[in-house]
C-alpha cells in the first residue's frame, strides 16, 4: 500500500423494504485513483453514490473521507461532488451560471468565481457556450457542463453516475478518453459508476464489481480479468469458457470429459467447481488436445478471429480467439488445449 486511502467504506448496508440495495459493502479508494463501480442495473451502484453524497442514510456502516466521519456531515457541507446520471443542470440558468452556482455558495470573491468558471469551461471546451441555456446544448455538451459544474468546486472526491450512458457510441469513446485525461489534469479522485464492463476496463485504475448489493471483487482491470474471484465476475468481465465439475489437485474433474488442468487457486477450492478459461488462452493443437470438437463457425474481426467449437458433452460452444484469420473450415474436427496456468478454478 504505497498510496494512502482517501475513502474508506466499511460494512455499508441499506434496504428499501424488502429490497437490499447495499449489503455489507466495504471498499477502500486511494487518493487520485480512477475507481469504477461496475455491475448490472439495479445492483446498488447509484444507492452507494447517494449514501456517500448524503441523499440516503445507510442502515449501518461507515464512510470515512480522509479519516473523517463523512456520514455526520450534512449533504451540502460534504467536500464531494456528484455528477448526476441525468446531469440535473438548472434549466433556468446559462452554462456559466450553472458552473458558477457551487462557487457562489462558497461565497468566493466575484473575480475568482469568474476566472475559475472561465478556466473550467476552457478545460471542457465550452468557452463559446458560456451564455447558452442547457436546453440548447447537445447531449455531449450537457455532459461537459455537468462535469465542469462538479470539478470547478475542486472536490476531494468526484462521483460520476453513469456519466456516459446517455451518449451515443462514438461520442462515448471520445469522452472516455477525455474523462481519463481530465482526471489526470485536475488530480481529483474519481469514482465512476458504469454497467459497461468495457468502459470500466478501459478507464479505471481499479474496479469494484457489484451484484445484488454486494461487492464481488475489487481489483485492477487486468487482475480481475485474469483472476476473477468467482463465477459472477468471470462471467460479467469479458468472455469466458466455463466447465462444470469437481475440484481435484491441479484441475477440475469434468463429468463428460474427465480431468482438465487448471492453476491451483489460493485459497484452495474443494468440491463442486468451475474451470474457466479465456478465449485467447485456448489454442488449436494437432494432437494431444484436451478436448475434441467440430468448428461451428468462424468470425473475422479485422485483426483477430473468433472460432466457436462444438464439443460433445458440453452445452455451450467453446469460444477461442486467434490473431489474423482462422485457418480452419466450418465443420472441421479440431483438438483444443490450454496451459494449466491460464485456466482458473472457481467454487461453484
Amino acid at each position: 500500500m504505497t498510496q494512502k486511502h482517501l475513502v474508506e467504506i466499511s460494512g455499508l448496508s441499506k434496504s428499501y423494504g424488502d429490497v437490499v440495495a447495499l449489503d455489507d459493502v466495504s471498499i477502500s479508494i486511494k487518493e487520485n485513483e480512477f475507481f469504477a463501480l461496475l455491475g448490472p442495473s439495479g445492483c446498488g451502484k447509484t444507492t452507494l453514490l447517494r449514501v456517500i453524497a448524503g441523499f440516503e442514510e445507510p442502515d449501518s456502516g461507515a464512510v470515512l473521507l480522509g479519516g473523517e466521519n463523512l456520514l455526520s456531515l450534512p449533504p451540502h457541507k460534504r467536500p464531494i461532488n456528484l455528477m448526476f446520471q441525468s446531469y440535473a443542470l438548472f434549466p433556468h440558468m446559462s452554462v456559466e451560471r450553472n458552473v458558477a452556482y457551487g462557487l457562489e455558495r462558497e461565497k468566493l470573491p466575484k473575480d475568482e468565481i469568474r476566472s475559475r468558471v472561465k478556466e473550467v469551461l476552457a478545460t471542457v471546451g465550452l468557452m463559446d457556450k458560456a451564455r447558452t441555456r442547457p436546453a440548447q446544448l447537445s447531449g455531449g455538451q450537457r455532459q461537459r457542463v455537468a462535469l465542469a459544474r462538479a470539478i470547478v468546486k475542486r472536490p476531494q472526491l468526484l462521483l460520476l453516475d453513469e456519466p456516459l450512458s446517455a451518449l451515443d457510441r462514438k461520442v462515448r469513446a471520445e469522452m472516455q478518453l477525455e474523462l481519463k485525461r481530465l482526471q489526470h489534469e485536475v488530480g481529483i479522485t474519481f469514482v465512476v459508476v458504469t454497467h459497461d464492463q468495457e468502459e470500466a476496463m478501459s478507464m479505471a485504475d481499479r474496479i469494484a464489481v457489484m451484484s445484488l448489493g454486494r461487492v464481488q471483487q475489487v481489483d485492477t482491470p487486468v487482475g480481475m480479468y485474469q483472476r476473477p474471484a468467482n463465477v459472477f465476475v468471470a462471467d460479467f468481465i469479458g468472455t469466458s469458457n466455463m466447465f462444470e465439475g469437481v475440484a481435484v489437485a491441479g484441475g477440475v474433474d469434468v463429468t463428460s470429459f474427465g480431468f482438465l488442468p487448471a492453476q491451483d487457486p489460493t485459497p484452495a477450492v474443494t468440491g463442486a467447481a468451475y474451470l474457466m478459461v479465456r478465449p485467447e488462452d485456448v489454442r488449436i493443437v494437432d494432437d494431444g488436445g484436451l478436448l475434441t470438437g467440430t468448428v461451428l463457425e468462424t468470425q473475422f474481426f479485422g485483426g483477430a478471429s473468433t472460432i466457436a467449437v462444438q464439443v460433445a458433452g458440453h452445452l455451450a460452444p467453446v469460444v477461442l480467439t486467434c490473431q489474423g484469420t482462422a485457418n480452419v473450415q466450418r465443420g472441421a474436427s479440431v483438438q483444443l488445449s490450454w496451459l494449466a496456468d491460464k485456466a482458473v478454478m472457481l467454487a461453484r
Partner: protein
C-alpha cells in the same frame, strides 16, 4: 427510394395531424364559437350608440371610450384592481406554502389533501358566499368568539367592508392558486434540488434559487386564475360588500341589466379582456425565458 421514404413520412405526418385535429375539433369548435362570437359582439357594441330600451343603434362613435376615462369609473376600476390584487397576494402567501406542504406528504395523503382543497367546489358558489354573511355579521360566530375571548368589547363591523369582499374572494378562489402551484412543484425534477444541495446550497438557498424560479410560471398561472375571476366578480361584492364596494363586475352587469347602456358595458368588458390578455402574455414570456427555450439568457 429516398423520396418515397420522405413521401411516406410526409403522409404519416399528415395523418398524425389529421388525428390530432379530429380530437381537438369538437372542443376547439365549441370554445372558438362561444368565445369568438361574444367577443366580436362586444367589440362591435363598444363602437355603437346606446339604444333607447337597451340594445345598440347607429351611428358609430368613440363616445363610450371617452366616458370610461371619467374619474368615477377609473376609481371603480382602481378599486377592483386593488381588491383583486390583494386577494391574489393573499392567495399566493397562503396557497404556495400549502401546495408545497402537500407535495411533501406521502403519496396517499397527497390525494386526500387535494380532495380537501377542492371540496368547497362541491357546493354552490352563492350558498358558500351566503355562509360568510352568517359568519361575519355582528351576531355571527366570529364576533361572538372574539367577544367571549374578551378580545373585543363591542361587535366589529366585519360585514360590508372591503376586507369582507377580499375574504370572500380569497375563500372562493384559493383552490385555483393551490392546484397549479401544486402541479408545478410536483413536476419539479427533484434531482435539481439534490444538485443544488450537492453544490453547497442549504435548503433555504436551493428553494430560493431553484424551486422558486422554476415554479414561477405555474405560480403566475395560479395568480391569474385567482386574479381574473376576482376582478370580474360581482356576486361577492354585492353580498359581502353590501353594495358599498362596487367593482368592475358590478358596473358591467349594471350597464347591461339596469342602465341598459350596452355600448358602455361593452367598453368596460373590452377593457377587462385586453387587460387579462396582457397578463397571459406576460406569463407566457416568463415561462419561455425560465425554461431557456428560444431566447438566450
Amino acid at each position: 427510394m429516398a423520396s418515397t421514404v420522405a413521401q411516406g413520412r410526409g403522409a404519416d405526418k399528415r395523418r398524425a395531424l389529421g388525428a390530432r385535429t379530429a380530437f381537438l375539433g369538437p372542443g376547439l369548435l365549441y370554445v372558438t364559437a362561444f368565445m369568438t362570437i361574444p367577443i366580436l359582439l362586444v367589440v362591435s357594441y363598444a363602437f355603437l350608440t346606446r339604444g333607447r330600451f337597451g340594445g345598440v343603434e347607429f351611428p358609430v362613435t368613440l363616445e363610450n371610450f371617452v366616458r370610461a376615462l371619467d374619474p368615477i369609473y377609473l376609481r371603480v376600476l382602481w378599486n377592483s384592481i386593488f381588491i383583486a390584487s390583494a386577494t391574489t397576494l393573499l392567495a399566493l402567501l397562503i396557497g404556495y406554502p400549502t401546495a408545497y406542504a402537500i407535495t411533501r406528504l406521502p403519496v396517499r395523503w397527497r390525494t386526500v389533501a387535494l380532495v380537501l382543497v377542492v371540496l368547497p367546489f362541491w357546493t354552490n358558489f352563492l350558498i358558500r358566499t351566503y355562509a360568510w354573511i352568517v359568519l361575519l355579521n355582528s351576531q355571527g360566530p366570529v364576533n361572538k368568539t372574539l367577544e367571549s375571548l374578551g378580545l373585543i368589547d363591542a361587535p366589529l363591523e366585519l360585514l360590508y367592508t372591503r376586507g369582507a369582499v377580499i375574504a370572500g374572494l380569497l375563500y372562493a378562489y384559493l383552490p385555483l392558486m393551490i392546484l397549479p402551484v401544486y402541479a408545478s412543484i410536483e413536476r419539479l425534477d427533484r434531482s435539481l434540488l439534490e444538485a443544488a444541495t450537492n453544490l453547497g446550497a442549504s435548503k433555504f438557498w436551493s428553494f430560493i434559487t431553484v424551486t422558486l424560479p422554476l415554479t414561477l410560471p405555474g405560480t403566475m398561472i395560479g395568480a391569474i386564475f385567482v386574479f381574473v375571476p376576482s376582478l370580474g366578480n360581482f356576486i361577492v361584492p354585492e353580498l359581502l360588500g353590501g353594495g358599498k364596494t362596487v367593482m368592475v363586475g358590478n358596473l358591467i352587469r349594471d350597464q347591461f341589466l339596469k342602465a341598459r347602456d350596452w355600448p358602455f358595458g361593452a367598453v368596460l368588458a373590452l377593457v377587462m379582456v385586453l387587460f387579462l390578455a396582457g397578463l397571459f402574455a406576460v406569463q407566457a414570456i416568463v415561462a419561455r425565458r425560465i425554461n431557456g427555450r428560444g431566447a438566450r439568457a
